[in-house]
Homo-oligomer: 154 residues x 4
Amino acid sequence: MNDEIEVYVRFSETDMLGHVNNTSYFLYFEEARTKFFKKVHPNRDSSFGFILASIKCDFLKQAYGDESLKISTNISKIGTKSFHMQHILVNNQDEKIAQASAVIVCFNYEEQQSVAIPAQLRENLEAWLASKVRCSKEGNNASRNDSSTSWRSD
Amino acid sequence: MNDEIEVYVRFSETDMLGHVNNTSYFLYFEEARTKFFKKVHPNRDSSFGFILASIKCDFLKQAYGDESLKISTNISKIGTKSFHMQHILVNNQDEKIAQASAVIVCFNYEEQQSVAIPAQLRENLEAWLASKVRCSKEGNNASRNDSSTSWRSD
Amino acid sequence: MNDEIEVYVRFSETDMLGHVNNTSYFLYFEEARTKFFKKVHPNRDSSFGFILASIKCDFLKQAYGDESLKISTNISKIGTKSFHMQHILVNNQDEKIAQASAVIVCFNYEEQQSVAIPAQLRENLEAWLASKVRCSKEGNNASRNDSSTSWRSD
Amino acid sequence: MNDEIEVYVRFSETDMLGHVNNTSYFLYFEEARTKFFKKVHPNRDSSFGFILASIKCDFLKQAYGDESLKISTNISKIGTKSFHMQHILVNNQDEKIAQASAVIVCFNYEEQQSVAIPAQLRENLEAWLASKVRCSKEGNNASRNDSSTSWRSD
């Protein structure tokens, strides 16, 4: 099971190289996270927060202004106080544009410290983790498409 | 040897949690990269470009509107066609706010493929790589400061 | 007749005052313009462009993160080489958040100068101008709602 | 007397037309306002705020990535509860890129209503208003440069 949202690429999100600027991808991932959090933890206490501890993005293909992109999100790991999310960004031709993984820490703002993942949230996250099988299969497909990426680090 | 720039945190770069939004950090890292590239590869051919293949950011402490932040940049690895950059973001109290590592691929836009790092650029990058010793020492200091980060993933 | 789009307010578009930052409104207006231009001038020559010569925004009420906002756009004036657009931004409670007016100039990039509005485009713009009657009525309604704006210049 | 700041144009602030995106100018004006407010009202009460009621920007020339731009700010009008600011944005060749005027309302967040300009602030603002003479002279010079703007509305 993947959570999927669609984003429209604004003109302001492109840059002088004619493509979507690298910083814009993080706007899309944030929107995906916000909407995902509302689903898996709908009635949260105001003292509870999700802190982004880390995010990594691999840029695989260029995206362009006025495109509609799809972001699918799932959970790849659940710890005691934190969990890992994965985002895959694809364009309308189903080409994988970017993939990201983020580490989220459950935080209590009143106590100013990280806290254990609440029971109901954990249960909800596990439902998205279960999706891992289907996702990694998708991941394989996507990886094959990656072979067309023309930049590759060594 | 570290390349250092200073950035001013704009009001627009904060969010409703009262701190600098996660997406804003990537604006700062991009500014650091742009200015670094001008130093290490000043007279580049218009067909030559630096492609950001990947970037990872660890968020360690909050930053706030109207602050001045310092970003120090150095090179952690040099491959055949790509190299790795590291950024460390500190505030005025010398607290480490975030650290990032980025993979940069040398790209020829005319041929639309990655190319070997040009000789002069490689030589320049190596000067910043030599700085690694001092940097990792700084990294240790910074790591000690990190112990005060109140969120930590597991 | 109004052209209407819906935008989702991203977390990154808010600021430390807890509301949508003033600069974010211009992102929304740009998206409205881009989509409007595709409708009224769908098959445009690559040498032809719409230049934003001027934009004015009145901020009437605060908007917040995670809201869905509606932007309605119409044409208020058509000149020889330029035309005026109006945007009204409302929230889900139908409160007017902001209104903007923009001056757009038709521009030929090859000749690097402004050009007369192409005939077909002019005809299309006039269809949206005709909407003026209904719009100004809406405008009046909206103005009544404005009386609740708690800041007012003198 | 003009308040002047310098901003660096980030790559992310450009767009696929190869120039600075229209939305980026408002980032620069906001930075200019923030810094100006700190000067003219340094020790403000947390309940006191400056609300941007309106802003208008005329785009006169293109600006480009990696440029350094100067923004000069002064006060053009002082009312009872609000005042008007003017920003002029110039590039390194002293060409006027854009000019903006903003209406600022003094606001009390606790009472949630606009309030009279505090006495000390008013005095400070008047010092910048006095600068009007020199500024409008500069304005004339700048206007002459404007004659080279290749888009002009009608």
